[in-house]
Symmetry: C2
C-alpha cells in the first residue's frame, strides 16, 4: 500500500521513492532524467514521470522538490524567505497537475547578495526531522550550498559555484591544457587544499596549477586533483570560518569524502549525514500537510 511517492528532481538528476506507512521505502529509482533531459521529451515532464515510475501512480499523493519548480521546470513557484521550517514548506506546497511541489528558498532578497536554492532546503529539513542537530551544513555539488539551522529552522545559506567552476576551468581554460587523466590522487588533492586556504586572490592561487606543472613539480595526472583541492579548500576555509561546531556534510560518495578531508585538514569536526535526507524531508513536509 503506497502512502506517498516522493521525488527529488534536479537539473541533471531524478530520484524517486515509493513509501509505505511511516515513510518506509518500498521501491526506489535513482536514474531518471533530470529536468533538462525530461523537459526536452515530446511529452515533457508528464511523460518522463510515466516512463520512469508510471507503475507506482495508483492514486497515492505525489510530492516533488528541487529544480523542477524553477523557470525551466514543470511549474515555477515563488521562493520562500528565511527563516524557514518544515511547516512553512508544507503551507506553501503548490498543487499542479496532481503533484504537490515543494518550493525553494531565498536568502536576503533585498540585500546586495541575495541567494536562492531549490531542493537543498528539503534535505536539511529531512536531517532535522530525523533528530539531526542544528548547526552548519554543506551540501556539495555543482553549486554547493552552505546553510545554517537554528531551532529547527533554516536561518541562512550561501551558494558557492565550486563544482561548476572546476569543470569550466578544466574543460575551457589554460589550466586544463596540461591535465592528463589519472586514477585520482589524495596527496595531490591535499596539496591543493593547502593552497586553497592561503591568503590572496583565488584567481591568482589557481594559476599555481599551471606553474607547478610547467616547473615539473606537479605531474600532469595530478593537476585535476590539485585544482579540485584548491577550489574546495578555498570554499571550506571561507564557509566554515565561523562554524562554531561540527559541520554536517549532506552528500554522497567521493565528493562528500573530499569535503570531509578538507574540513579535517583545517581541524574542523565534520560528519557525513546518512543517506536519504531528501526522501525523509519530503515525508516530513507531506506529513505536516496531512498528505501521508
Amino acid at each position: 500500500m503506497t502512502a506517498l511517492i516522493g521525488i527529488d528532481w534536479g537539473t541533471t538528476s531524478f530520484r524517486a521513492w515509493r513509501m509505505g506507512a511511516e515513510g518506509k521505502v518500498l521501491e526506489a529509482v535513482g536514474d531518471g532524467p533530470g529536468i533538462l533531459a525530461a523537459g526536452a521529451l515530446p511529452g515533457g515532464f508528464r511523460q518522463a514521470l510515466q516512463d520512469r515510475i508510471g507503475g507506482w501512480l495508483d492514486g497515492a499523493p505525489v510530492i516533488a522538490s528541487g529544480m523542477i519548480t524553477s523557470r525551466n521546470g514543470w511549474v515555477e513557484t515563488p521562493y520562500l524567505p528565511l527563516p524557514l521550517d518544515a511547516a512553512a514548506l508544507a503551507d506553501s506546497l503548490t498543487l499542479h497537475d496532481g503533484i504537490h511541489f515543494v518550493t525553494g528558498a531565498v536568502s536576503d532578497p533585498d540585500g546586495p547578495a541575495p541567494d536562492v536554492m531549490r531542493g537543498e532546503e528539503t534535505e536539511i529539513i529531512g536531517h532535522l526531522a530525523g533528530g539531526g542537530a542544528d548547526g552548519l551544513f554543506v551540501l556539495p555539488g555543482t553549486h554547493s550550498k552552505w546553510a545554517r539551522a537554528r531551532g529547527g529552522r533554516i536561518t541562512a545559506f550561501r551558494t558557492v559555484m565550486t563544482g561548476e567552476v572546476f569543470a569550466v576551468l578544466r574543460d575551457h581554460s589554460i589550466l586544463g591544457r596540461l591535465i592528463q587523466p589519472g586514477p585520482g590522487d589524495e596527496d595531490a588533492f591535499r596539496r591543493g587544499v593547502e593552497a586553497g586556504w592561503q591568503d590572496g586572490a583565488l584567481l591568482g592561487r589557481i594559476f599555481s596549477a599551471r606553474t607547478l606543472a610547467l616547473l615539473d613539480r606537479l605531474a600532469p595526472q595530478d593537476i585535476a586533483d590539485y585544482l579540485s583541492g584548491l577550489l574546495i579548500g578555498d570554499e571550506v576555509a571561507q564557509g566554515a570560518r565561523d562554524a562554531g561546531g561540527p559541520v554536517t556534510i549532506i552528500g554522497r560518495g567521493d565528493l562528500a569524502a573530499r569535503y570531509r578531508i578538507a574540513l579535517d585538514m583545517m581541524g574542523i569536526a565534520a560528519v557525513i549525514a546518512p543517506p536519504g535526507m531528501a526522501r525523509r524531508g519530503l515525508w516530513e513536509i507531506a506529513r505536516i500537510k496531512g498528505l501521508s
Copy 2:
C-alpha cells in the same frame, strides 16, 4: 637609419617598432599575428616576421620579448629568478636565428606557489628606465600581473587569471545564460566592484550575477559588466592591499580604465603609465647589451 627593431610578441598579439637614434620610433606595426597564429603558418615564425616587417630587416639588430620565448614559441628560454633588473635581462639575452630574445622571470621557484611571466618584465623595465617610480604595478590582461619594483629591480610578482576566468564564466557557465549584450554600463561595473571587495568565498559572490538577474534586480544587458567588476574588484582588493603608495597601471584602453575605477573606488591612488613601455624596455635592454 635603423638602430634597433623591437618586437613584443605575445600569445595573440604582435607589436613591432623600427627605432632610430635614441630609440625614436620611425615606424610601428600593431597588428601582426600572435604566436598561436604565427606558429601555425607553413613557414612559422620566420615567415610571420618576413610577412609583417620584412621591409625593415636590413641588418639592424632585432630584439623580441613575450611568450615568443615560451614552450610554444620560437625558442624556449629559461626563466630568470628575482630580483631582476635591465642588466640581468641584457646578460641573459638568447641569440637564436639572428634575433636577441629577452627571457622571462620566475618568482619563488621552489616555494608552494611559484609564478612565471614572459613579456611583462620588459614593460616594467621600460617604465623604470624612463624615470618611472618604484612601487606596485598592475598589468591587466587575460592573465593580469601584479608586480613590485624596488631600487630599479623587480622584486615580486603574482599572476591573476581574471580576464580568462571572466571569459570562461561568460561563455561556458550558468552565469552566462542570462547575459544579453549591452553598450557597457559603468554603474553595473561599479556595483560589481563593491561585491568584489566583500568577504566570503569568491565562487559564492559571483553567483550573485545570477540571483540578482533572477530577481529582476540586474538587467540582462548589465550582467557582464557586473561580473567584470566583481572579478576585478576581488583582484584589486587583494592585489593592492599592501600597496603603500600609488599603483601604476601598465595597460591601455577600456581595461586599464576599469582597473583605475576599481582602485579609485577603494581609495587607492592610481596612475595609468604612458604608452610605449614595452618598446622602451626593449631599447633599454639592447642599449645595456651594446646592441643599439
